[in-house]
Protein backbone atom coordinates (compact mmCIF):
# COMPACT_ATOMS: atom_id res chain seq x y z
CA UNK A 1 0.00 0.00 0.00
CA UNK A 2 1.35 3.34 -0.96
CA UNK A 3 1.05 6.20 1.44
CA UNK A 4 0.49 9.60 0.02
CA UNK A 5 1.75 12.44 2.12
CA UNK A 6 -0.29 15.50 1.29
CA UNK A 7 -3.04 17.70 2.60
CA UNK A 8 -6.75 16.92 2.28
CA UNK A 9 -8.82 15.78 0.40
CA UNK A 10 -7.61 12.22 0.77
CA UNK A 11 -10.66 10.43 -0.62
CA UNK A 12 -10.83 10.95 -4.33
CA UNK A 13 -13.13 9.73 -7.06
CA UNK A 14 -11.74 7.24 -9.54
CA UNK A 15 -12.39 9.69 -12.35
CA UNK A 16 -9.42 11.68 -13.46
CA UNK A 17 -9.46 14.51 -15.96
CA UNK A 18 -7.87 12.16 -18.46
CA UNK A 19 -10.64 9.54 -18.14
CA UNK A 20 -13.38 12.14 -18.55
CA UNK A 21 -11.70 13.70 -21.54
CA UNK A 22 -11.11 10.30 -23.13
CA UNK A 23 -14.78 9.46 -22.82
CA UNK A 24 -15.74 12.74 -24.44
CA UNK A 25 -13.40 11.95 -27.33
CA UNK A 26 -14.89 8.47 -27.70
CA UNK A 27 -18.41 9.85 -27.69
CA UNK A 28 -17.40 12.28 -30.46
CA UNK A 29 -16.12 9.46 -32.68
CA UNK A 30 -19.53 8.54 -34.20
CA UNK A 31 -20.17 12.21 -34.90
CA UNK A 32 -16.82 12.48 -36.66
CA UNK A 33 -17.43 9.28 -38.62
CA UNK A 34 -20.76 10.55 -39.90
CA UNK A 35 -19.21 13.94 -40.67
CA UNK A 36 -16.55 12.22 -42.80
CA UNK A 37 -19.31 10.16 -44.46
CA UNK A 38 -21.11 13.43 -45.28
CA UNK A 39 -18.18 15.36 -46.67
CA UNK A 40 -15.52 12.79 -47.50
CA UNK A 41 -11.83 13.45 -47.78
CA UNK A 42 -11.92 17.17 -46.96
CA UNK A 43 -13.68 16.58 -43.65
CA UNK A 44 -11.13 13.91 -42.69
CA UNK A 45 -8.24 16.19 -43.61
CA UNK A 46 -9.79 19.08 -41.71
CA UNK A 47 -10.24 16.95 -38.57
CA UNK A 48 -6.67 15.65 -38.75
CA UNK A 49 -5.03 19.00 -39.49
CA UNK A 50 -6.95 21.02 -36.88
CA UNK A 51 -6.48 18.41 -34.15
CA UNK A 52 -2.82 18.02 -35.08
CA UNK A 53 -2.31 21.77 -34.91
CA UNK A 54 -3.97 21.89 -31.47
CA UNK A 55 -1.80 19.04 -30.19
CA UNK A 56 1.40 20.57 -31.56
CA UNK A 57 0.63 23.95 -29.96
CA UNK A 58 -0.29 22.30 -26.67
CA UNK A 59 2.93 20.29 -26.72
CA UNK A 60 4.97 23.39 -27.40
CA UNK A 61 3.45 25.37 -24.54
CA UNK A 62 3.61 22.47 -22.09
CA UNK A 63 7.29 22.01 -22.90
CA UNK A 64 7.84 25.71 -22.33
CA UNK A 65 6.76 25.12 -18.75
CA UNK A 66 4.43 27.09 -16.52
CA UNK A 67 1.45 25.15 -17.86
CA UNK A 68 -0.79 22.64 -16.25
CA UNK A 69 -1.73 19.49 -18.15
CA UNK A 70 -0.13 17.62 -20.98
CA UNK A 71 -1.20 16.37 -24.39
CA UNK A 72 -1.85 12.96 -22.85
CA UNK A 73 -4.93 14.35 -21.06
CA UNK A 74 -6.89 14.45 -24.35
CA UNK A 75 -8.22 17.96 -23.76
CA UNK A 76 -6.41 19.36 -26.80
CA UNK A 77 -7.88 16.52 -28.87
CA UNK A 78 -11.38 17.58 -27.84
CA UNK A 79 -10.59 21.20 -28.68
CA UNK A 80 -9.32 20.15 -32.09
CA UNK A 81 -12.26 17.89 -32.93
CA UNK A 82 -14.86 20.43 -31.80
CA UNK A 83 -13.12 23.19 -33.71
CA UNK A 84 -12.99 21.06 -36.86
CA UNK A 85 -16.66 20.16 -36.51
CA UNK A 86 -17.65 23.80 -36.10
CA UNK A 87 -15.92 25.15 -39.22
CA UNK A 88 -17.06 24.44 -42.78
CA UNK A 89 -15.75 21.11 -44.18
CA UNK A 90 -14.16 22.89 -47.12
CA UNK A 91 -12.36 25.40 -44.90
CA UNK A 92 -8.79 25.87 -46.21
CA UNK A 93 -6.52 23.57 -44.25
CA UNK A 94 -3.93 26.22 -43.52
CA UNK A 95 -6.64 28.40 -41.96
CA UNK A 96 -7.71 25.37 -39.93
CA UNK A 97 -4.15 25.02 -38.67
CA UNK A 98 -4.11 28.72 -37.73
CA UNK A 99 -7.42 28.29 -35.91
CA UNK A 100 -6.09 25.31 -33.95
CA UNK A 101 -2.91 27.13 -32.96
CA UNK A 102 -4.80 30.25 -31.89
CA UNK A 103 -7.35 28.14 -30.00
CA UNK A 104 -4.69 26.59 -27.77
CA UNK A 105 -2.34 29.57 -27.57
CA UNK A 106 -4.84 32.37 -26.99
CA UNK A 107 -7.67 30.34 -25.53
CA UNK A 108 -5.77 28.10 -23.16
CA UNK A 109 -2.01 28.54 -22.79
CA UNK A 110 -2.35 32.25 -22.15
CA UNK A 111 -4.42 31.55 -19.05
CA UNK A 112 -2.14 28.81 -17.71
CA UNK A 113 -3.34 25.61 -19.33
CA UNK A 114 -6.14 23.16 -18.72
CA UNK A 115 -8.58 24.19 -16.03
CA UNK A 116 -7.52 27.83 -16.00
CA UNK A 117 -9.03 28.98 -19.27
CA UNK A 118 -11.86 31.48 -19.12
CA UNK A 119 -13.24 30.81 -22.59
CA UNK A 120 -13.79 27.59 -24.46
CA UNK A 121 -10.56 27.23 -26.49
CA UNK A 122 -12.28 25.80 -29.56
CA UNK A 123 -14.59 28.79 -29.73
CA UNK A 124 -11.72 31.24 -29.22
CA UNK A 125 -10.04 29.67 -32.26
CA UNK A 126 -13.23 29.83 -34.24
CA UNK A 127 -13.91 33.43 -33.24
CA UNK A 128 -10.40 34.36 -34.40
CA UNK A 129 -10.80 32.81 -37.84
CA UNK A 130 -14.31 34.23 -38.08
CA UNK A 131 -12.83 37.70 -37.59
CA UNK A 132 -9.80 37.03 -39.77
CA UNK A 133 -11.35 35.16 -42.70
CA UNK A 134 -15.05 36.09 -42.78
CA UNK A 135 -15.66 34.86 -46.34
CA UNK A 136 -13.99 31.47 -45.98
CA UNK A 137 -15.83 30.62 -42.78
CA UNK A 138 -19.20 31.37 -44.36
CA UNK A 139 -18.49 29.18 -47.41
CA UNK A 140 -20.22 25.86 -46.91
CA UNK A 141 -20.53 23.12 -49.49
CA UNK A 142 -23.40 20.66 -50.00
CA UNK A 143 -23.09 17.32 -48.23
CA UNK A 144 -23.12 13.91 -49.98
CA UNK A 145 -21.38 15.24 -53.06
CA UNK A 146 -20.65 12.56 -55.65
CA UNK A 147 -17.02 11.53 -55.57
CA UNK A 148 -16.36 13.03 -52.14
CA UNK A 149 -14.19 10.12 -50.99
CA UNK A 150 -11.46 10.51 -53.57
CA UNK A 151 -11.53 14.24 -54.20
CA UNK A 152 -10.97 17.26 -51.96
CA UNK A 153 -13.30 20.22 -51.90
CA UNK A 154 -11.16 22.67 -53.92
CA UNK A 155 -11.13 25.35 -51.23
CA UNK A 156 -9.52 22.92 -48.76
CA UNK A 157 -6.25 22.77 -50.61
CA UNK A 158 -5.53 26.52 -50.76
CA UNK A 159 -1.82 27.29 -50.39
CA UNK A 160 -0.78 28.78 -47.06
CA UNK A 161 -1.51 32.53 -46.84
CA UNK A 162 -3.33 32.36 -50.17
CA UNK A 163 -7.02 32.81 -50.89
CA UNK A 164 -9.01 29.65 -51.53
CA UNK A 165 -10.36 29.43 -55.06
CA UNK A 166 -14.05 30.07 -55.48
CA UNK A 167 -16.18 26.95 -55.23
CA UNK A 168 -18.95 28.29 -57.49
CA UNK A 169 -17.28 26.87 -60.60
CA UNK A 170 -16.80 23.51 -58.93
CA UNK A 171 -20.45 23.50 -57.89
CA UNK A 172 -21.71 24.18 -61.42
CA UNK A 173 -19.40 21.44 -62.68
CA UNK A 174 -21.20 19.09 -60.31
CA UNK A 175 -24.60 20.42 -61.42
CA UNK A 176 -25.46 22.34 -58.28
CA UNK A 177 -26.80 25.87 -58.24
CA UNK A 178 -25.07 28.66 -56.35
CA UNK A 179 -27.61 28.47 -53.52
CA UNK A 180 -26.54 24.91 -52.69
CA UNK A 181 -23.59 26.21 -50.68
CA UNK A 182 -25.71 28.25 -48.25
CA UNK A 183 -26.46 26.87 -44.80
CA UNK A 184 -30.15 26.52 -43.82
CA UNK A 185 -29.74 29.46 -41.42
CA UNK A 186 -28.24 31.71 -44.09
CA UNK A 187 -30.94 30.63 -46.53
CA UNK A 188 -33.61 31.59 -44.02
CA UNK A 189 -31.94 34.86 -43.05
CA UNK A 190 -31.07 36.16 -46.49
CA UNK A 191 -33.54 34.41 -48.81
CA UNK A 192 -36.47 33.51 -46.57
CA UNK A 193 -36.28 29.80 -47.41
CA UNK A 194 -37.13 27.54 -44.50
CA UNK A 195 -35.87 23.96 -44.19
CA UNK A 196 -37.94 21.26 -42.51
CA UNK A 197 -37.03 20.35 -38.95
CA UNK A 198 -36.92 16.59 -39.61
CA UNK A 199 -34.55 17.10 -42.53
CA UNK A 200 -32.31 19.20 -40.35
CA UNK A 201 -32.37 16.69 -37.52
CA UNK A 202 -30.87 13.82 -39.47
CA UNK A 203 -29.29 15.94 -42.23
CA UNK A 204 -29.61 12.84 -44.39
CA UNK A 205 -31.98 14.12 -47.05
CA UNK A 206 -30.62 15.90 -50.07
CA UNK A 207 -27.41 17.85 -50.35
CA UNK A 208 -27.86 20.22 -47.45
CA UNK A 209 -24.94 22.41 -46.47
CA UNK A 210 -24.90 21.65 -42.77
CA UNK A 211 -22.45 20.58 -40.13
CA UNK A 212 -22.53 17.23 -38.32
CA UNK A 213 -25.92 15.63 -37.75
CA UNK A 214 -27.77 17.12 -34.74
CA UNK A 215 -29.52 13.82 -34.01
CA UNK A 216 -26.24 11.95 -33.70
CA UNK A 217 -24.79 14.67 -31.46
CA UNK A 218 -27.92 14.49 -29.30
CA UNK A 219 -27.57 10.72 -28.92
CA UNK A 220 -23.84 10.94 -28.11
CA UNK A 221 -24.48 13.79 -25.71
CA UNK A 222 -27.22 11.86 -23.93
CA UNK A 223 -24.83 8.92 -23.57
CA UNK A 224 -22.23 11.23 -22.00
CA UNK A 225 -24.78 12.79 -19.68
CA UNK A 226 -26.11 9.38 -18.63
CA UNK A 227 -22.58 8.28 -17.76
CA UNK A 228 -22.31 11.56 -15.79
CA UNK A 229 -19.35 12.80 -17.79
CA UNK A 230 -21.21 16.00 -18.40
CA UNK A 231 -23.96 17.81 -16.61
CA UNK A 232 -27.38 17.39 -18.21
CA UNK A 233 -28.61 20.71 -16.84
CA UNK A 234 -26.60 22.91 -19.18
CA UNK A 235 -27.73 21.45 -22.55
CA UNK A 236 -31.29 21.17 -21.28
CA UNK A 237 -31.27 24.79 -20.12
CA UNK A 238 -29.78 26.03 -23.40
CA UNK A 239 -32.15 24.07 -25.64
CA UNK A 240 -35.11 24.87 -23.39
CA UNK A 241 -34.38 28.56 -23.29
CA UNK A 242 -33.64 28.81 -27.01
CA UNK A 243 -36.74 26.76 -27.85
CA UNK A 244 -38.95 28.76 -25.52
CA UNK A 245 -37.73 32.12 -26.82
CA UNK A 246 -38.10 30.98 -30.42
CA UNK A 247 -41.56 29.58 -29.71
CA UNK A 248 -42.69 32.80 -28.03
CA UNK A 249 -41.52 34.90 -30.97
CA UNK A 250 -43.07 32.41 -33.41
CA UNK A 251 -46.37 32.62 -31.58
CA UNK A 252 -46.26 36.41 -31.69
CA UNK A 253 -45.43 36.70 -35.37
CA UNK A 254 -45.37 33.44 -37.38
CA UNK A 255 -44.71 35.30 -40.64
CA UNK A 256 -41.48 36.86 -39.58
CA UNK A 257 -39.95 34.19 -37.36
CA UNK A 258 -39.34 30.53 -38.18
CA UNK A 259 -40.76 27.72 -36.06
CA UNK A 260 -38.84 26.80 -32.90
CA UNK A 261 -37.76 23.38 -34.23
CA UNK A 262 -35.94 25.07 -37.08
CA UNK A 263 -34.14 27.19 -34.51
CA UNK A 264 -33.13 24.19 -32.40
CA UNK A 265 -31.85 21.90 -35.12
CA UNK A 266 -30.18 24.35 -37.47
CA UNK A 267 -26.65 25.63 -37.27
CA UNK A 268 -24.41 24.60 -34.43
CA UNK A 269 -26.84 24.97 -31.54
CA UNK A 270 -26.98 21.26 -30.66
CA UNK A 271 -23.21 20.84 -30.94
CA UNK A 272 -22.64 23.99 -28.92
CA UNK A 273 -25.16 23.06 -26.25
CA UNK A 274 -23.96 19.47 -25.87
CA UNK A 275 -20.20 19.76 -26.18
CA UNK A 276 -19.00 23.36 -26.11
CA UNK A 277 -21.06 25.03 -23.41
CA UNK A 278 -20.56 22.04 -21.09
CA UNK A 279 -16.78 22.47 -20.97
CA UNK A 280 -16.05 22.00 -17.28
CA UNK A 281 -13.53 24.76 -16.86
CA UNK A 282 -15.66 27.45 -18.43
CA UNK A 283 -19.16 26.67 -17.14
CA UNK A 284 -20.53 27.28 -13.63
CA UNK A 285 -20.15 24.54 -11.02
CA UNK A 286 -23.24 25.42 -9.02
CA UNK A 287 -26.46 23.62 -10.13
CA UNK A 288 -28.49 26.80 -10.01
CA UNK A 289 -25.75 28.59 -11.90
CA UNK A 290 -25.89 25.97 -14.66
CA UNK A 291 -29.55 26.78 -15.29
CA UNK A 292 -28.85 30.51 -15.39
CA UNK A 293 -25.85 29.99 -17.68
CA UNK A 294 -27.79 27.76 -20.07
CA UNK A 295 -30.78 30.07 -20.16
CA UNK A 296 -28.52 33.02 -20.92
CA UNK A 297 -26.82 31.19 -23.81
CA UNK A 298 -30.10 30.02 -25.32
CA UNK A 299 -31.64 33.47 -25.15
CA UNK A 300 -28.54 35.16 -26.61
CA UNK A 301 -28.37 32.62 -29.45
CA UNK A 302 -31.91 33.34 -30.58
CA UNK A 303 -31.45 37.10 -30.20
CA UNK A 304 -28.23 37.10 -32.24
CA UNK A 305 -29.77 34.91 -34.94
CA UNK A 306 -32.90 37.06 -35.26
CA UNK A 307 -31.70 40.57 -34.72
CA UNK A 308 -28.07 40.78 -35.86
CA UNK A 309 -26.37 40.73 -39.24
CA UNK A 310 -24.97 37.25 -38.68
CA UNK A 311 -26.94 34.14 -39.53
CA UNK A 312 -25.42 32.13 -36.66
CA UNK A 313 -24.97 33.21 -33.05
CA UNK A 314 -24.15 30.14 -30.97
CA UNK A 315 -20.43 30.88 -30.80
CA UNK A 316 -20.78 34.42 -29.47
CA UNK A 317 -23.57 33.37 -27.13
CA UNK A 318 -21.39 30.69 -25.53
CA UNK A 319 -18.40 33.01 -25.31
CA UNK A 320 -20.55 35.61 -23.57
CA UNK A 321 -21.87 32.90 -21.28
CA UNK A 322 -18.29 31.89 -20.47
CA UNK A 323 -17.49 35.49 -19.64
CA UNK A 324 -20.49 35.68 -17.31
CA UNK A 325 -19.62 32.39 -15.56
CA UNK A 326 -17.65 33.80 -12.58
CA UNK A 327 -20.46 36.27 -11.88
CA UNK A 328 -23.12 33.57 -12.19
CA UNK A 329 -21.19 31.38 -9.77
CA UNK A 330 -20.93 34.23 -7.34
CA UNK A 331 -24.66 34.97 -7.25
CA UNK A 332 -25.74 31.32 -7.16
CA UNK A 333 -23.65 30.08 -4.28
CA UNK A 334 -25.52 27.32 -2.48
CA UNK A 335 -26.51 27.94 1.13
CA UNK A 336 -24.31 25.95 3.48
CA UNK A 337 -25.98 23.50 5.82
CA UNK A 338 -27.43 25.27 8.82
CA UNK A 339 -27.52 28.60 7.05
CA UNK A 340 -30.87 28.27 5.31
CA UNK A 341 -33.54 30.95 5.53
CA UNK A 342 -35.57 28.81 7.92
CA UNK A 343 -32.66 28.11 10.18
CA UNK A 344 -31.75 31.75 10.18
CA UNK A 345 -35.36 32.79 10.80
CA UNK A 346 -35.43 36.11 12.54
CA UNK A 347 -31.82 36.71 11.74
CA UNK A 348 -30.75 38.94 8.89
CA UNK A 349 -28.73 37.12 6.22
CA UNK A 350 -25.76 39.07 5.11
CA UNK A 351 -25.35 38.41 1.39
CA UNK A 352 -24.24 35.13 -0.09
CA UNK A 353 -22.07 33.06 2.17
CA UNK A 354 -19.01 31.28 0.92
CA UNK A 355 -18.90 27.53 1.05
CA UNK A 356 -15.15 27.79 1.35
CA UNK A 357 -13.16 28.04 4.50
CA UNK A 358 -13.31 31.74 5.34
CA UNK A 359 -9.56 31.85 5.38
CA UNK A 360 -9.53 31.32 1.63
CA UNK A 361 -11.59 34.42 0.88
CA UNK A 362 -9.33 36.74 -0.98
CA UNK A 363 -8.51 39.99 0.71
CA UNK A 364 -9.26 41.88 -2.48
CA UNK A 365 -12.91 40.95 -2.20
CA UNK A 366 -14.69 44.16 -1.37
CA UNK A 367 -15.13 44.48 2.32
CA UNK A 368 -14.14 40.89 2.96
CA UNK A 369 -13.58 40.40 6.65
CA UNK A 370 -12.34 37.03 7.71
CA UNK A 371 -15.08 35.92 10.06
CA UNK A 372 -12.90 33.88 12.32
CA UNK A 373 -15.46 33.76 15.07
CA UNK A 374 -18.11 32.24 12.85
CA UNK A 375 -16.59 28.82 12.45
CA UNK A 376 -16.19 28.44 16.15
CA UNK A 377 -19.61 29.95 16.78
CA UNK A 378 -21.52 26.77 17.59
CA UNK A 379 -18.65 24.97 19.16
CA UNK A 380 -19.32 24.24 22.81
CA UNK A 381 -17.15 26.37 24.96
CA UNK A 382 -14.51 24.63 26.94
CA UNK A 383 -15.03 25.01 30.62
CA UNK A 384 -12.53 27.55 31.74
CA UNK A 385 -9.97 26.08 34.01
CA UNK A 386 -9.62 27.84 37.28
CA UNK A 387 -6.09 28.69 37.89
Amino acid sequence: MSIEIRSAPHIKGARTVEIIMRHVVWSLMPVCAFYIFQYGLSALASLVVVTGSCLATERYFVRQGGQSGDISDFSAVITGILLALSIPPGFPLWMGAVAGGVAIALGKALFGGIGYNVFNPALVGRAFVQAAFPTAIATYTPSFMPGRFYEFIPSSMALPLMQPESITEWLTLKHFDALAGATPLAKWKFDGVLANADELLTSLSGHMAVGPSPLLILICGIYLASRRFMDWRIPLAILGSAGLTAWLLFALNPDRFPNPFFMLFSGGLILGAMYMATDMATSPVTPKGMWVYGALIGLLTVIIRYYSGLPEGVMYAILLGNAATPLIEKITQPTPFGKSVLAAFGRQRKGASYPLHPGYISREDAGAVTPRKRILFDKPKKPRQES
Binding site: A132, F133, L161, M162, Q163
Partner: protein, 212 residues
Protein backbone atom coordinates in the same frame (compact mmCIF):
# COMPACT_ATOMS: atom_id res chain seq x y z
CA UNK B 1 26.67 71.54 -21.62
CA UNK B 2 30.10 70.00 -21.30
CA UNK B 3 28.86 66.46 -21.51
CA UNK B 4 31.22 63.71 -22.53
CA UNK B 5 30.01 61.79 -25.62
CA UNK B 6 29.09 58.55 -23.80
CA UNK B 7 26.58 60.41 -21.62
CA UNK B 8 24.93 61.91 -24.68
CA UNK B 9 24.83 58.55 -26.41
CA UNK B 10 23.37 57.05 -23.27
CA UNK B 11 20.65 59.70 -23.16
CA UNK B 12 19.80 58.93 -26.77
CA UNK B 13 19.77 55.16 -26.37
CA UNK B 14 17.65 55.27 -23.24
CA UNK B 15 14.48 55.93 -25.18
CA UNK B 16 15.32 53.42 -27.88
CA UNK B 17 16.06 50.42 -25.75
CA UNK B 18 16.16 50.63 -21.97
CA UNK B 19 13.06 52.79 -21.57
CA UNK B 20 11.36 52.25 -24.90
CA UNK B 21 8.01 54.07 -24.61
CA UNK B 22 6.03 51.32 -26.33
CA UNK B 23 7.66 48.10 -25.18
CA UNK B 24 9.04 48.98 -21.76
CA UNK B 25 7.03 51.89 -20.38
CA UNK B 26 3.87 50.92 -22.34
CA UNK B 27 2.97 54.59 -22.75
CA UNK B 28 0.99 56.28 -25.52
CA UNK B 29 -1.06 53.17 -26.23
CA UNK B 30 -3.88 55.12 -27.88
CA UNK B 31 -2.01 56.04 -31.09
CA UNK B 32 0.03 52.83 -30.86
CA UNK B 33 -3.05 50.66 -31.21
CA UNK B 34 -5.21 52.91 -33.32
CA UNK B 35 -3.09 54.12 -36.22
CA UNK B 36 -0.72 51.21 -36.80
CA UNK B 37 -2.81 49.48 -39.45
CA UNK B 38 -0.05 50.08 -42.00
CA UNK B 39 3.65 50.82 -42.05
CA UNK B 40 3.22 54.26 -43.63
CA UNK B 41 0.70 55.34 -41.02
CA UNK B 42 2.95 54.11 -38.24
CA UNK B 43 6.01 55.86 -39.63
CA UNK B 44 4.28 59.20 -40.15
CA UNK B 45 2.66 59.07 -36.72
CA UNK B 46 6.06 58.30 -35.20
CA UNK B 47 7.77 61.14 -37.06
CA UNK B 48 5.02 63.60 -36.10
CA UNK B 49 5.26 62.60 -32.45
CA UNK B 50 9.06 62.79 -32.53
CA UNK B 51 8.92 66.31 -33.95
CA UNK B 52 6.52 67.49 -31.25
CA UNK B 53 8.49 65.67 -28.56
CA UNK B 54 11.89 67.12 -29.50
CA UNK B 55 10.82 70.71 -29.91
CA UNK B 56 8.44 70.91 -27.00
CA UNK B 57 11.02 69.31 -24.71
CA UNK B 58 13.62 71.80 -25.98
CA UNK B 59 11.36 74.77 -25.35
CA UNK B 60 10.24 73.52 -21.95
CA UNK B 61 13.85 72.94 -21.00
CA UNK B 62 14.75 76.50 -22.05
CA UNK B 63 11.88 77.94 -20.02
CA UNK B 64 12.23 75.56 -17.08
CA UNK B 65 13.44 78.28 -14.70
CA UNK B 66 10.65 80.69 -15.71
CA UNK B 67 7.69 78.32 -15.45
CA UNK B 68 6.02 78.57 -12.03
CA UNK B 69 5.67 75.19 -10.41
CA UNK B 70 1.95 75.62 -9.76
CA UNK B 71 0.93 76.02 -13.41
CA UNK B 72 3.60 73.88 -15.04
CA UNK B 73 1.27 71.25 -16.51
CA UNK B 74 -0.90 73.90 -18.16
CA UNK B 75 2.20 75.59 -19.54
CA UNK B 76 3.53 72.29 -20.92
CA UNK B 77 0.22 71.59 -22.61
CA UNK B 78 0.18 75.02 -24.24
CA UNK B 79 3.72 74.53 -25.55
CA UNK B 80 2.99 71.00 -26.78
CA UNK B 81 -0.27 72.13 -28.39
CA UNK B 82 1.61 74.79 -30.34
CA UNK B 83 3.86 72.22 -31.97
CA UNK B 84 0.98 69.82 -32.53
CA UNK B 85 -0.84 72.56 -34.43
CA UNK B 86 2.27 73.03 -36.59
CA UNK B 87 2.43 69.28 -37.33
CA UNK B 88 -1.31 69.17 -37.96
CA UNK B 89 -1.14 71.86 -40.65
CA UNK B 90 2.03 70.45 -42.21
CA UNK B 91 0.53 66.97 -42.62
CA UNK B 92 -2.67 68.46 -44.01
CA UNK B 93 -0.64 70.43 -46.54
CA UNK B 94 1.68 67.59 -47.54
CA UNK B 95 -0.76 64.72 -47.82
CA UNK B 96 -4.49 64.95 -47.32
CA UNK B 97 -4.85 61.18 -47.64
CA UNK B 98 -2.46 60.64 -44.74
CA UNK B 99 -4.23 63.35 -42.77
CA UNK B 100 -7.53 61.52 -43.22
CA UNK B 101 -5.96 58.18 -42.35
CA UNK B 102 -4.50 59.45 -39.08
CA UNK B 103 -7.66 61.40 -38.27
CA UNK B 104 -8.05 62.79 -34.80
CA UNK B 105 -4.89 61.08 -33.59
CA UNK B 106 -2.72 63.94 -34.86
CA UNK B 107 -4.52 66.40 -32.59
CA UNK B 108 -4.42 63.83 -29.83
CA UNK B 109 -0.61 63.96 -29.77
CA UNK B 110 -1.25 66.83 -27.32
CA UNK B 111 -2.37 64.41 -24.66
CA UNK B 112 0.14 61.69 -25.51
CA UNK B 113 1.55 60.73 -22.15
CA UNK B 114 5.05 60.17 -23.53
CA UNK B 115 5.40 63.86 -24.29
CA UNK B 116 3.94 65.11 -21.05
CA UNK B 117 5.90 62.47 -19.17
CA UNK B 118 9.19 63.48 -20.76
CA UNK B 119 8.45 67.16 -20.12
CA UNK B 120 7.64 66.54 -16.48
CA UNK B 121 10.26 63.91 -15.70
CA UNK B 122 13.18 64.99 -17.82
CA UNK B 123 13.00 68.26 -19.75
CA UNK B 124 12.01 70.35 -16.74
CA UNK B 125 15.17 69.28 -14.93
CA UNK B 126 17.86 69.22 -17.60
CA UNK B 127 19.51 71.70 -19.97
CA UNK B 128 18.03 71.97 -23.49
CA UNK B 129 20.72 69.99 -25.31
CA UNK B 130 20.42 66.91 -23.15
CA UNK B 131 16.65 67.21 -23.04
CA UNK B 132 16.38 67.34 -26.82
CA UNK B 133 18.72 64.39 -27.30
CA UNK B 134 16.75 62.38 -24.80
CA UNK B 135 13.49 63.43 -26.46
CA UNK B 136 14.89 62.44 -29.86
CA UNK B 137 15.79 59.02 -28.50
CA UNK B 138 12.31 58.63 -27.06
CA UNK B 139 10.74 59.72 -30.33
CA UNK B 140 12.86 57.30 -32.34
CA UNK B 141 12.04 54.54 -29.85
CA UNK B 142 8.34 55.33 -30.19
CA UNK B 143 8.64 55.29 -33.97
CA UNK B 144 10.39 51.92 -33.84
CA UNK B 145 7.62 50.61 -31.63
CA UNK B 146 4.91 51.87 -33.98
CA UNK B 147 6.76 50.42 -36.97
CA UNK B 148 7.09 47.06 -35.25
CA UNK B 149 3.32 46.96 -34.89
CA UNK B 150 2.47 48.63 -38.19
CA UNK B 151 4.62 46.43 -40.40
CA UNK B 152 3.39 43.17 -38.85
CA UNK B 153 -0.22 44.29 -39.08
CA UNK B 154 0.24 45.44 -42.66
CA UNK B 155 1.93 42.19 -43.73
CA UNK B 156 -0.86 40.06 -42.29
CA UNK B 157 -3.75 42.43 -42.86
CA UNK B 158 -3.04 43.41 -46.45
CA UNK B 159 -0.09 41.31 -47.63
CA UNK B 160 1.93 44.45 -48.32
CA UNK B 161 4.85 46.26 -46.75
CA UNK B 162 4.80 50.04 -47.16
CA UNK B 163 2.38 49.49 -50.01
CA UNK B 164 4.54 46.94 -51.85
CA UNK B 165 2.76 43.62 -52.37
CA UNK B 166 4.71 40.73 -50.90
CA UNK B 167 2.64 37.70 -51.72
CA UNK B 168 1.08 38.45 -55.07
CA UNK B 169 -2.52 38.76 -56.14
CA UNK B 170 -4.25 35.90 -54.38
CA UNK B 171 -3.08 36.71 -50.86
CA UNK B 172 -5.74 36.10 -48.23
CA UNK B 173 -5.85 39.16 -45.96
CA UNK B 174 -6.34 38.46 -42.25
CA UNK B 175 -9.12 40.96 -41.71
CA UNK B 176 -8.76 40.77 -37.94
CA UNK B 177 -5.25 42.23 -38.11
CA UNK B 178 -6.43 45.63 -39.33
CA UNK B 179 -9.28 45.64 -36.82
CA UNK B 180 -8.70 46.80 -33.23
CA UNK B 181 -8.25 43.22 -31.85
CA UNK B 182 -5.34 42.72 -34.25
CA UNK B 183 -3.56 45.67 -32.65
CA UNK B 184 -3.88 44.05 -29.24
CA UNK B 185 -2.73 40.65 -30.53
CA UNK B 186 0.37 42.09 -32.18
CA UNK B 187 1.22 44.37 -29.25
CA UNK B 188 0.79 41.44 -26.87
CA UNK B 189 3.06 39.27 -28.98
CA UNK B 190 5.78 41.93 -29.05
CA UNK B 191 5.54 42.45 -25.28
CA UNK B 192 5.79 38.68 -24.85
CA UNK B 193 8.88 38.64 -27.04
CA UNK B 194 10.58 41.41 -25.06
CA UNK B 195 9.58 39.83 -21.74
CA UNK B 196 11.17 36.58 -22.91
CA UNK B 197 14.36 38.48 -23.85
CA UNK B 198 14.41 40.13 -20.45
CA UNK B 199 13.93 36.82 -18.67
CA UNK B 200 16.73 35.21 -20.66
CA UNK B 201 19.03 38.10 -19.76
CA UNK B 202 18.15 37.75 -16.07
CA UNK B 203 18.82 34.02 -16.17
CA UNK B 204 22.19 34.50 -17.83
CA UNK B 205 23.04 37.16 -15.27
CA UNK B 206 22.10 34.83 -12.44
CA UNK B 207 24.20 32.05 -13.94
CA UNK B 208 27.14 34.40 -14.34
CA UNK B 209 26.97 35.50 -10.71
CA UNK B 210 26.67 31.91 -9.60
CA UNK B 211 29.72 30.89 -11.57
CA UNK B 212 31.70 33.83 -10.32
Amino acid sequence: MSQSPPRTWDEFMEGIWRQNPVFVMVLGMCPTLAVTVSGVNALSMGVATTFVLVFSCGLISLLRKLIPKEVRIATYIVIIATFVTVVDYVIQAVSLALYDALGAFIQLIVVNCIILGRAEAHASKTPPGVAMINALGMGVGFTIGLLALGTVREIFGAGTLFGVALFGESFQPWVVMVLPPGGFFVLGSWLLFFAALERRKQRKLAEATQNA
